[in-house]
């Protein structure tokens, strides 16, 4: 089980500044269990966003958003609705956000922070996806996590060592920052990288503070 908790709505609204038509995704797996992204939380978020003048053009709940194939399949009926938005808000762990991000050509914003996997892992297993940092930055980085996937967990761009899209430290793996820039270029949203990510709150991360689970 991955333990997540909802981000403060003010933080979510800051990410969604300029995005008017929002599609909401919840998860009937861990996020339902921890009451961060089950059906009641999705409905509640819908109301909060609408109260702030946003249009929620649709929503769905997927059994396990971190299951990439399942997410791809479950979104098929919503293709037309999704054509009307550039922004999905995903109320799941970081793995769920990245899984969803990998199956839609849209920005997927995290609505939750992932605070622990309590020893378990998500269903998308081919690479490290989420380090349970507790302070999710996926809203800035096109749904690809630099904390888990960059060898130096760099928040604001690549080091000088990336060559041919590979990591200098471990040449067998992709440079996370290359993937991020490539994806945001494809989405026409390089503007997302203009904002400097401030120093992170490592006090809420699994390895930076006291264990919470």
């Amino acid at each position: 089980m991955l333990v997540s908790e909802q981000k403060p709505v003010e933080e979510i609204l800051r990410y969604l500044d300029g995005e008017n038509n929002i599609f909401l995704v919840g998860c009937k797996g861990c996020a339902e269990g921890f009451e961060s992204g089950g059906e009641p939380q999705v409905m509640e978020m819908k109301q909060k966003l609408e109260a702030e003048g946003k249009t929620v053009i649709g929503f769905t709940l997927i059994d396990m958003v971190c299951n990439q194939s399942l997410s791809r399949m479950k979104l098929i009926p919503y293709q037309q609705v999704l054509d009307g938005t550039n922004a999905l808000l995903c109320l799941t762990c970081g793995s769920g956000v990245q899984s969803l991000s990998s199956v839609v050509n849209k920005l997927v914003y995290p609505g939750c922070n992932t605070i622990s996997s309590v020893g378990g892992h998500a269903e998308w297993k081919e690479a490290e996806r989420c380090m349970e940092c507790g302070d999710c930055v996926l809203a800035y980085t096109g749904g690809i996590c630099p904390i888990a996937r960059c060898s130096k967990s760099m928040s604001n761009g690549p080091c000088g060592g990336s060559e041919n899209k590979q990591c200098e430290v471990n040449p067998g793996i992709d440079c996370a920052w290359h993937l991020i820039v490539e994806r945001l270029t494809k989405l026409g949203r390089l503007d997302k990288l203009e904002e400097v990510i401030p120093p992170k709150n490592w006090g809420v991360s699994l390895t930076g503070g006291p264990p919470r689970y």
Partner: protein
């Protein structure tokens, strides 16, 4: 009062910096010798910070020695070995001791160095370290607390003009400028046409660019760097020139190439200065400048 280095940057002259590396151990004879040789021919001397993730005498200690010799130090600080508390503490100490120039780096990764079992820190990255410098100058620390005594710095950063692909590097370059990087010392450049393309972009921003000049000491080194060091590209004609040097004369040829590059950068006013990295051959830096006609 701006630091001597900052005054040089703002004077419009072609600025020259170089670097020295502290010893592994307490024998500073070689470094002190290099400082003596360099102090009157350059505007400032960088002191590296556990360079290549190899544990050494600290950069702040090295900067103290540069100061004692009457030269202008640039403190290199990486985020690999210290968290935000230690970095801020060292910045305060450096400022108090009259070390006013700081180069903000993320730092090489632990696995490339000589303490592979160490825990890497990376609490901050280079962009956030620049922000930290500016925060301290505002009289606050990163925790939002008031400082008793406010420091000021001349802060810079690095950039890799030959990065492949270049786009992610430019994103970060812009962030560094926006966070107040007053100068950049670049990764090694050898191809002036490529560098001019980078400078065309960089000139849109209000910051000073010092081109990185790494001395070639043999054809083998040139081939190795272009093949193995990300962000370094040595054109084939320079490799051929090194390979064609008479026996025992490769270093001399390397000095001529470095001098020629610097001479062209200065003559064509392509950038604001150079940062010479002689990597173990610091004693020939004056020869390089002589070859550049400086």
């Amino acid at each position: 009062m701006a630091s001597k280095f900052k005054q040089a940057l703002n004077s419009g002259k072609f600025v020259v910096t170089t670097e020295v590396g502290p010893a592994k151990g307490t024998n500073m004879d070689a470094m002190l010798h290099h400082i003596d040789l360099l102090k009157d021919v350059v505007d400032a001397i960088n002191v590296t910070d556990n360079q290549s993730s190899v544990m050494r005498f600290p950069s702040v200690g090295g900067c103290m020695l540069v100061k004692q010799k009457g030269a202008e130090p640039i403190l290199q600080m990486t985020c690999r070995d210290r968290n935000r508390m230690a970095l801020q503490a060292d910045l305060l100490y450096a400022n108090y001791m009259g070390i006013e120039n700081v180069l903000c780096l993320t730092g090489d990764a632990i696995p490339v160095g000589d303490h592979k079992e160490a825990k890497s820190v990376f609490d901050l990255d280079s962009v956030q370290l620049l922000k930290t410098v500016r925060t301290l100058e505002s009289g606050k620390d990163l925790g939002g607390n008031d400082l008793d005594g406010v420091p000021s710095y001349c802060a810079g950063a690095i950039v890799t003009p030959e990065a492949n692909p270049i786009e992610p590097q430019l994103v970060k370059f812009e962030k560094k400028v926006n966070e107040g990087a007053e100068f950049f010392q670049t990764q090694a450049i050898y191809d002036l046409d490529n560098f001019k393309k980078f400078m065309k972009h960089a000139r849109k921003y209000d910051t000073k660019i010092l081109a990185g000049i790494v001395l070639l000491s043999s054809a083998g080194m040139a081939r190795y760097m272009t093949k193995n060091i990300p962000g370094i590209f040595v054109p084939q004609d320079l490799i051929d020139e090194m390979a064609g040097a008479p026996k025992g004369q490769a270093l001399k040829t390397g000095i001529e190439i470095a001098g020629r590059l610097i001479g062209e950068l200065k003559k064509e006013a392509i950038c604001d200065g150079v940062h010479i990295m002689a990597i173990g051959k610091e004693e020939v830096v004056p020869d390089i400048l002589a070859a550049a006609g400086m």
